[in-house]
């Protein structure tokens, strides 16, 4: 299910210095994390894709760019042609205003007139933990507010409702001079966006203090839209299932189908008066559900996709980025697994186990994406699309003059990235929440000392301490192996004679250095480390100091290089996007941007595992998995589910698949029928959907939803939440469960 939150690769996102994004430009030099770049990798041990076949006759598909339509440009003709639907402005208004953006990484929707909100359990985990009182374990045990007054407010949680969209492309771009320097250009653009965002927000707040405006760059900056949201800041928890049900099948089942998960949670939005809001925008519940072949619509906030990437960018990702990252992740995961396997069952390794699972999941996701990039058919389609674009640019003298070299310039950036690939390969994921704590903390210590010397603000320094505290200690044995793994990685890419490496090793073997650090460095322990964060770390006698003194210059130089490549690439991407617009006027929707989209699709099974997967699964499957994997597995059941009431109908549909185009960020999106009734709740994609990062296909890629019928059956039979069942099915909100029970 992680796939669907924006933080799909959540572990990867928690980079040591990532927090610096908010701490200002003074950090610029050292905040650029070495986003894993180039590796002049030796021939991979794993089989390489077969030689690319001749692309003769291969043409891009009509929907290779996907179906994440924006609400200001919905494809009315296509909807008419595909589904025979004449969709009205009012339809789109209801669809967009009943949908919500949930926090910073998920989607949600209003499902009753009185502000009931539906999203995924995996989007709500943090909120559920937050409202747990002392002695409660609501995340594990689940929660149901038996009355309105028992609904629990979640501090800092908000949902955003999209009200207006305006095209502000001209406002952003018209005053931008032609910069020679990529960094200047990137900065100027950022300032223009921020400035307009501030002005528009100020204007909007004049109308309503809950309004906020966000400028969203679409098509890599080929278009800018201003989105005005209404923000609801009183959001209360209503009902959540047990973690085991929300996450049934755990990380192994993540990104897969057939699936049997009740990944749902309900909240309610309250108004400033402290009462449930009244909203005319909501999606009514469909009690009839769907059948195979039915058209369905997803309204939500897909996080990001890379479908506009050029061949040179995709090839770089295929040959360097992803393989390098996988190499490091696989090595780290192997170390953790060895350690965990050696532990007694039941030993408290919760954090490490979670880290390991997250890593496994990231590996799964990246392998799925890499498989896409190695798929000759997929690449042939991308190549054909690019050939068509190039021909179209070349055919028009004006376009050719403006954009004739962009594709080649982008290829040149990739070539430059390849030139730093050795260094990048050596330091892949260094400075992130992954890997040796000692080495990472040393980097924090180094940054802290230098920043303090340069007079950085206390806030900046405090943030750095806060970030470094996020790193939990690892057992010495794991720590030792992680250090060795990093040094080996450096050895592989830089060579044994590299000066940086020699400076780090100081004549020791990697093993001996690791032993020394683990035995003698204060950085093995987070508390002892924090004590060193007073500006004296670099002058201390800690054995990690010479190591980081040798390592840090390489790290920061590389970071700078990668940053400048990034600016250049962003500018070229924007130029290319303008060329695309000139050629076909954006016939495809833009790449995902965590802003509201409408994706059409059809409920449909697919070929899988030598047979066909059904379009839906049932509660029987929950029990099949529970009894066959056994208690204490990822498919364990909460006690209440083990002793289920006889009245629960196990044949009720639980999960379903459809061809809707979704990605991380869509988690919690409603799945709607053509009448905008809720038929499901998006929570994941299948393993075949991972290559959709680059090209949308619907042959076997599927979005996975909790079936609306299954939600209702569980609320009714398992959670005895008649109050909510009543609200969903009749629209009537009552105060208490008792009141609901007493109704005929």
């Amino acid at each position: 299910m992680n796939v669907i939150t924006r933080s799909a690769l959540v572990v990867l996102a928690v980079f040591l210095l990532a927090g610096c994004a908010t701490t200002g430009s003074e950090m610029a030099v050292i905040t650029e994390r070495p986003k894993p770049v180039v590796n002049p990798a030796p021939p991979p041990a794993t089989p390489v894709a077969a030689p690319e076949p001749a692309d003769d006759g291969v043409q891009p598909g009509r929907f290779d760019g996907g179906k994440m339509w924006t609400f200001d440009n919905p494809p009315l003709d296509y909807f008419r042609e595909a589904y025979g639907l004449e969709l009205t402005d009012q339809w789109f208004e209801v669809a967009s205003r009943s949908a919500l953006r949930f926090g910073e990484s998920c989607s949600a929707s209003f499902v009753s007139r009185r502000g009931l909100v539906m999203t995924n359990h995996h989007c709500a985990r943090e909120s559920i933990t937050k409202v747990s009182a002392a002695g409660e374990a609501l995340l594990d045990d689940g929660f149901y507010a038996t009355s309105l007054s028992a609904e629990r407010k979640v501090e800092d949680l908000y949902v955003d409702q999209l009200l207006f969209i305006a095209d502000v492309t001209d406002k952003i771009t018209k005053d931008l001079p032609d910069y020679q320097n990529d960094e200047e250009e990137a900065d100027a653009l950022e300032r223009a966006i921020e400035g307009l965002e501030e002005r528009m927000t100020r204007d909007a707040r004049g109308q309503d203090t809950t309004y906020i405006v966000q400028i969203v760059p679409l098509y890599n900056g080929g278009k800018y839209s201003a989105y005005t949201f209404k923000r609801y800041s009183d959001v209360r928890l209503v009902v959540a299932p047990e973690l085991l049900m929300g996450k049934f099948g755990g990380d192994p089942d993540n990104f897969t189908y057939p699936r049997y998960s009740l990944d749902m949670t309900f909240f309610r939005v309250y108004g400033p008066d402290g009462a449930p809001i009244e909203t005319s925008y909501f999606f009514p519940w469909s009690t009839a559900g769907v059948n195979e072949g039915d058209p369905v619509f997803v309204v939500g906030n897909p996080g990001s996709t890379s479908r506009l990437n050029t061949m040179s960018q995709l090839e770089y990702e295929r040959d360097y980025d992803l393989p390098q990252q996988l190499e490091v992740l696989t090595a780290f995961a192997g170390i953790m697994k060895t350690y965990l396997d050696a532990q007694a069952p039941g030993a408290a390794n919760g954090d490490m186990r979670n880290d390991y699972y997250s890593l496994s999941n990231s590996i799964k996701a990246m392998e799925g994406q890499l498989a896409g990039l190695r798929d000759p058919e997929l690449m042939a389609r991308k190549r054909a699309a690019e050939r068509n674009l190039r021909n179209a640019i070349d055919a028009d003298p004006e376009l050719k003059a403006d954009y004739g070299s962009v594709l080649d310039d982008l290829a040149a950036v990739q070539a430059s990235k390849k030139a730093t690939a050795r260094q990048a390969g050596a330091l892949t994921f260094y400075g992130s929440a992954l890997g040796s704590r000692i080495l990472t903390r040393a980097l924090y210590g180094y940054a802290y000392t230098l920043l303090k010397q340069r007079g950085a603000s206390q806030t900046t320094l405090d943030d750095l301490v806060k970030d470094s505290n996020e790193l939990k200690d690892y057992p010495p044995d794991v720590e030792r192996q992680l250090i060795v793994a990093r040094i080996r990685q450096m050895e592989k890419y830089l060579g044994r004679t590299d000066p940086t490496l020699r400076g780090i090793l100081q004549g020791l073997t990697p093993e001996a250095l690791a032993d020394t650090l683990v035995a003698n460095s204060a950085l093995v322990d987070s508390a002892r480390f924090v004590a060193l964060l007073d500006g004296t770390y670099l002058s201390s006698k800690d054995p990690s100091v010479p190591v980081i003194n040798a390592l840090a210059p390489l790290y920061f130089t590389l970071g700078q290089q990668i940053g400048s490549f990034g600016d250049r690439e962003a500018n070229l991407n924007a130029e290319l996007s303008r060329a695309r617009f000139a050629v076909d006027g954006f016939s495809s929707p833009p790449d995902a941007t965590f802003s509201l989209r409408l994706a059409d699709g059809v409920v449909k099974g697919y070929a899988y595992n030598g047979t066909v997967a059904p379009y839906m699964t049932t509660f029987y499957g929950v029990y099949d998995h529970y009894v066959t994997y056994g208690p204490n597995s990822e498919w364990d059941l909460p006690e209440a589910w083990k002793r289920r009431p006889l009245s629960i109908d196990l044949s009720t549909p639980l999960n379903l698949v459809s061809t809707n185009d979704i990605t991380g960020g869509n988690s919690g999106s409603p799945l709607l029928n053509k009448n905008l009734e809720v038929v499901g709740l998006i929570f994941d994609g299948n393993i075949e959907s991972l290559p959709n990062e680059y090209v949308y296909t619907d042959k076997a890629a599927r979005a996975i939803s909790v079936d609306a019928r299954g939600i209702l059956e569980a609320l009714d039979e398992m959670y005895d939440a008649d109050r909510i069942v009543l609200e969903l099915t009749s629209g009537r909100m009552v105060e208490t469960e008792q009141e609901a029970d007493n109704l005929p």
């Binding site: 192994p252 057939p258 799925g368 030598g610 029987y620 499957g621 009894v627 299948n686 393993i687």
Partner: protein, 727 residues
């Protein structure tokens, strides 16, 4: 459905001289130390151990228990071979267990007017109602003799491949006759078979006791035996009750008293438990050389897959062209069979292009060549055999275009009736011209007249598909192809031929033969005239190379045995083997498959796919009694190395108790035709606990439950109910 697909596969064979094996294979993980996946592994050639070379030491090493001779004897004597499949004794009173898909023929055979036993299932509530299956039998392997020296001696000094083959066949016949006579002859109820192992590197003579009185006891509904249908064939997770019970009766017409049978395990198995499969795997191609596999990859198997796919497309077009009411079950079944064959061959083909498989095969061959080279004596005898095999493959490769163009040209199922009539009629006219007459010609005439009509659309599709094959493999510029097509497209030409030939229908054909009006000018005969010479040259070339290949394979078999002895088991030969393995899940579909499934999953599938699908349930199952425990394990996966022919094999624990019933392999097991890879290959069994739960709760077969659990035979269900009720 391993043997199911195998049997269907064989009907495609026709011309397939080069193509030894059509079955698919099984799986295994176990504790194989596999450091480099690209290097050959210890068990790449599998674990289908023979009883003449029992792997007692390896079992001890792998599982820490040392089975003695008696253990292997009991394992061997409890198992049975039935036509096309494996079975086993499961009671001291002759009760026999096998798969439903192995029992479909017998079930249909004993069905009486007004009954529909295949669809509705059968249970004999009393001994007296168990139904004899005429012609059905079960063979028990009672003796094994090594006759290698005798056969090899007979081949000494033979000059040509053909002579060696003839000498071998004669020696085998003599051995069989002698051993039969020693055992008391056919009247003693004994059968002797000499089986070449290691492609003739070794020869074993197997003596079987044949039980000719086998009666049907219990069979579930087809829908349960075949739950998930062709779609789920070769897959796991699975939810099929693919079982049938028979009983062997003695000469006196009484249930056979046998001391050799497998007792039923009530505890069943757990993940990680070692299990043993006793059965008759049909055939594998694991000992083929790299050059042979490359020929399969590039030519023979590739053509076979293309053949299956193009005929499937033709049948589907034909079916689509008909109004739904006119679509027949026969065509539908043919389409399903082809889809299944396509699934199987696609799985095999993908193994042949899998870099891991290819690398391991090459590595293994390198080691083998090295071992031969290092031994002066072996090198003198076999030093050039692998190269010789490669040369043979090169020659076969040169026939690749014809191979594709003429593949299964005379198949009754997949070639148009017009083509078949024209080929036979062409021979008839030729012989007539050559002056032959009388009986020789009469037989040919009968054959021609016996070729039944196909529906119009179907005949046209099949003919056009063949003409398309000509273009694909021989090229549109080929003079023969141009002569055959006469300037038209394959589709047009097919229509023209059917419209204008005197052989277009059976009636017209009979008329033309009776009237003597048939002439080589007939358009269809002219078409045959254009390709017949090339076709015959091709057949003759293939036959010669086939004999050569067989001989080389036999020499390689001897060399292999000399180098590796019995450390490497021989390729499957549909003779009795024992395969060890463990109950284990595997990485699947982005997650991890549990080794078990349960009856809950059966219902999940029924409700997910819906009534009327391949996952439909019989009425009896729709409302199970409250006492029915859906949490009981239904199917399980294990790493045992199996292949078509193993269907119906018992899965036994260390104490030789029956814990499961083999019925299929997973999709990853299809590579097992060529290599046994333990990571994902799995065999699929019905769990013994699931069988018992179904017999007890759904079929109310207390008589059988009593016999399985208490080894107590009672004559009627009423007796059983009393016995069980009183407990």
């Amino acid at each position: 459905m391993i043997s199911g697909i195998a049997a269907r596969g064989l009907t495609l064979l026709g011309l397939l001289v080069l193509h030894g094996a059509l079955f698919t294979a099984g799986a295994q993980t176990a504790q194989t130390e596999q450091s480099d996946p690209m290097k050959a592994g210890r068990f790449d050639n599998g674990k289908m151990w023979t009883f003449e070379y029992p792997p007692a030491d390896y079992f001890e090493e792998a599982y820490g228990f040392a089975p003695d001779e008696d253990w292997f004897d009991r394992a061997r004597l409890g198992a049975l071979r039935i036509p096309g499949c494996t079975a086993s004794f499961v009671s001291s009173t002759g009760l026999v267990l096998t798969n439903h898909h192995c029992g479909r023929g017998p079930v249909a055979q004993v069905t009486r007017a007004g009954e529909n036993l295949l669809d509705e299932g059968f249970y004999a509530p009393s001994l007296a109602e168990e139904r004899p299956v005429p012609g059905f039998y079960a063979d028990q392997m009672v003796a094994i003799a090594d006759v290698t020296d005798e056969v090899h001696a007979a081949q000494e000094g033979m000059e040509t491949d053909a002579e060696r083959v003839a000498a071998r066949d004669e020696a085998i016949q003599q051995i069989q006759d002698r051993l039969m006579a020693e055992a008391g002859g056919a009247e003693a109820g004994v059968v002797v078979e000499v089986t070449p192992l290691y492609h003739g590197g070794r020869y074993s003579a197997y003596t079987f006791r044949r039980y000719p009185d086998v009666r049907l006891v219990m069979a579930p509904e087809l829908q349960m035996g075949f739950f998930g249908g062709d779609d789920d064939n070769f897959t796991f997770p699975r939810y099929a009750l693919d079982m049938t019970f028979f009983r062997v009766y003695d000469a006196a017409g009484e249930p056979l008293e046998t001391e050799h049978y497998f007792t039923w395990s009530l505890e069943g198995v757990q993940p990680g438990h070692p299990v043993f499969v006793i059965g008759n795997p049909g055939s594998t191609s694991r000992l083929e050389t790299v050059s042979q596999l490359e020929l399969r990859r590039d030519v023979t198997d590739k053509s076979l897959l293309a053949f299956v796919s193009s005929r499937l497309a033709a049948l589907e077009r034909y079916q689509e062209s008909l109004p739904p009411a006119q679509r027949t079950d026969a065509t539908r079944n043919q389409i399903f069979s082809l889809r299944n064959a396509q699934k199987a061959y696609t799985g095999q083909q993908s193994a042949l292009v899998d870099p891991v498989v290819v690398s391991r095969k090459k590595d293994s061959e390198r080691a083998f060549v090295e071992a031969i080279r290092k031994d002066a004596d072996l090198n003198a005898r076999y030093g050039g055999v692998i190269a010789g095999m490669a040369e043979t493959q090169t020659e076969l490769r040169e026939l690749g275009a014809e191979y594709g163009a003429f593949f299964a040209l005379t198949s009754s199922a997949y070639s148009s009736a017009l083509t078949r009539r024209a080929i036979a009629a062409h021979a008839l006219l030729e012989r007539r011209t050559a002056g032959q007459e009388g009986e020789a010609l009469a037989a040919l005439e009968t054959q021609i007249n016996g070729i039944a009509d196909q529906p119009d659309g179907l005949g046209r599709e099949l003919l056009a598909t063949r003409l398309n094959d000509f273009v694909t493999y021989l090229g549109a510029d080929d003079p023969m192809v141009q002569a055959v097509l006469a300037g038209a497209t394959p589709e047009e030409r097919a229509a023209t031929l059917l419209a204008s030939s005197a052989l277009a229908t059976a009636a017209k054909t009979r008329q033309a033969i009776t009237d003597g009006t048939l002439s080589l000018d007939d358009p269809a005969l002219a078409m045959v005239g254009a390709f017949v010479e090339r076709y015959r040259d091709f057949q003759s070339a293939i036959a010669g190379l086939g004999a050569r290949q067989e001989e080389l394979a036999s020499q390689l078999g001897r060399a292999r045995f000399a180098v590796y002895g019995t450390d490497v088991p021989p390729d499957a030969t549909f003779s009795l083997r024992i395969a060890d393995g463990v109950v284990a899940g595997y990485p699947y579909n982005g997650t991890f498959a549990s080794p078990f499934t349960s009856f809950y999953g059966l219902y999940d599938h029924y409700y997910s796919y819906g009534a009327g699908s391949a996952w439909d349930l019989p009425a009896r199952w729709l409302n199970p009694p409250a006492t029915f425990d859906m949490g009981v394990p239904m199917n399980f996966a294990s790493t045992n190395d199996i292949i078509g022919g193993n269907s119906g094999s018992p899965v036994l624990n260390q104490d030789l108790e029956l814990v499961g019933l083999i019925f299929d392999g997973n999709i990853e097991s299809l590579a097992g035709e060529f290599i046994y890879l333990p990571e994902k290959n799995r065999s699929v069994s019905v769990d013994a606990r699931g069988i018992l739960e179904a017999l007890d709760e759904i079929y109310d077969a207390d008589r059988i439950v009593l016999e399985l659990t208490e080894d107590e035979l009672v004559p009627t269900e009423d007796d059983a109910d009393r016995r069980r009720g009183s407990r």
